[in-house]
Symmetry: C2
Subunit: 349 residues, 2 copies
Amino acid sequence: MTSPKAKPTIYDIARLGEASASTVSAVLNGSWRKRRISQTTAERILAIAEAQGYSANLQARGLRRARSGMVGMILPVHDNRFFADMSQSFEAQARQRGLCPVVVSTLRDPAEEARTVGTLIAYAIDSLFIAGATDPAAVGELCRAADLPHVYVDLPGFDAPSVVSDNYLGAATLTETLVRNLAPAGDPLRDRPYFFGGDPGDYATSRRIEAFRATCTAMLGGVDDSQIIARGYAPARAREDIAALLDRIGGLPSALFINALTVFEGVLSHFVTLPAQAFERTVIGCYDYDPFAAFLQFPVHMIRQNSSELIARAFDLIGAEDRGPRVIEIAPELIAPRTIYAGPFGEFG
Amino acid sequence: MTSPKAKPTIYDIARLGEASASTVSAVLNGSWRKRRISQTTAERILAIAEAQGYSANLQARGLRRARSGMVGMILPVHDNRFFADMSQSFEAQARQRGLCPVVVSTLRDPAEEARTVGTLIAYAIDSLFIAGATDPAAVGELCRAADLPHVYVDLPGFDAPSVVSDNYLGAATLTETLVRNLAPAGDPLRDRPYFFGGDPGDYATSRRIEAFRATCTAMLGGVDDSQIIARGYAPARAREDIAALLDRIGGLPSALFINALTVFEGVLSHFVTLPAQAFERTVIGCYDYDPFAAFLQFPVHMIRQNSSELIARAFDLIGAEDRGPRVIEIAPELIAPRTIYAGPFGEFG
DNA sequence: ATGAAAGCGCTAACAA
DNA sequence: TTGTTAGCGCTTTCAT
């Protein structure tokens, strides 16, 4: 059908339609009304373009317009339910706006972040969503230098608007749930909730720790520094640290606040070495949701961030006049154990 | 430091370095040796470019070279461990080759597949990795028409090379494991393995069903059509279907081969309505790996596809002379229950 | 050892 | 109502 040789250009269409390239251009991107091109011409051109299987060379258009029609998003990793959700929402909403989504992971590596953002800028992306950066300030500076509209998602930036999950609310809710479900073991050390995992240098983690502290203080009368263990996200690290904790306090704590799915993975790999009854008097919470984690041997209370809403508000902010820094918070949701929350294929209520 | 006005171009550098744009161009992309540009000139230009924070406009370069330096990959969804793994591997390997990875999900929707591929072609991507397409033939045809090198990943294409997981081997291995671990309940219907989930129209699923049948026949003397239930990937559907199955055969089967993680999610949401002891005489397997699924109330044998190897071989094929169709199979791995396989953060042995 | 010039495909003034 | 023209920033002959 169509395979003479190469992709047709507007000049080919112009020749076939006995019109000029600019007319074709105008027709093909809908701006022909205001250029007062006749209905007949427009239809003729359109028909020819269709017949030739024309599609614009987006690089040429981008070069001319000094923008590419692509929107970028950087995130730490794909292999994580929360970030995967974000990608999904981001793509859907970008397409809805006629933009081409480009999502790239930067592996929590500041050098990779800078490199990637540099590349995206070199491709003239129209705007950048920064969803998880180890060095947000550096990324922001690159954007500023390139005059690139950007927005921070799930972490607050100081040079541009941000939309973040309400980490305080989420962590307070989760902590409260844990405390309400406490089944004391009768041991002073184990009868406390422990906060486990993440990096206190991260904005999200620090807010969660604040909330954890405040809630413990309010409901239990206090909290000790030893109840906070936050030394990273790596599963291997988490495994070591959880083993050390159980060792130190002589068993499972009555409540454990796990700060990320990767941390949870590490914790689990240690938990399987314990007998089933060890969990009888322990209540577990995890900040972030995973459908399989909802069905473990023991009940797990989880917080699910509203990634779709985070992204939607971020698009609003990017589109807004005001480029100034400000932070919008989105409430996350508490998910009860044994609940499947709808994924992309899910038609669960 | 750098923020006079706009991004510098080669002409700016040329002026500052008292050289011509072509010299600058040659210096900046390393081809200056063969253009016999003097070491001194090269160094001078380089220094200036550095000082000005020059970085090439990739759209302009792409327009000129008729290729963009981007590699595309399409996949069904991000929110799935297997595909998330693929993205991660794809990105890493694309970057290693100096290419910019662009991963887009197409939601198992043929129209979206066509639209997305059209867009990627319009951006002049250098090559396309097709990892999961509902209508591979249509996608292939688009690529062919655009003369775009492409490779199929995890599904076989007929117009270009493919690298697929060895679904037969994986399914045979998993089935064999299930059968070896069979704990008969003493009921003729329940004492059989059941294959559950997926779409028999998919290449992968059909191969797995073949292997399931063959293995059952070899080890148990036969298999009945009623042991194969494959009516899609949606969790909701899986929940209905598993309920119907248990109803029909009067309880859990002694062995269940679950064909995808999304299916497993649906199955679990029904399983939680059952008493714990219901699982005592059942052995479960899942094709595809999830770290949390490894730690459910009951042991789960899983197959983990080697996405990194799949991608590596796909890059080899794209780079190769021979563009003809052929299929390379990669063996997947059996993962025992209670095992955490290293993820991006994992430092497990 | 380097520069001049053409042109990739498109858009947007500006003419007519 | 439409055509002409001038680039966007880069690479690449072809001349020096």
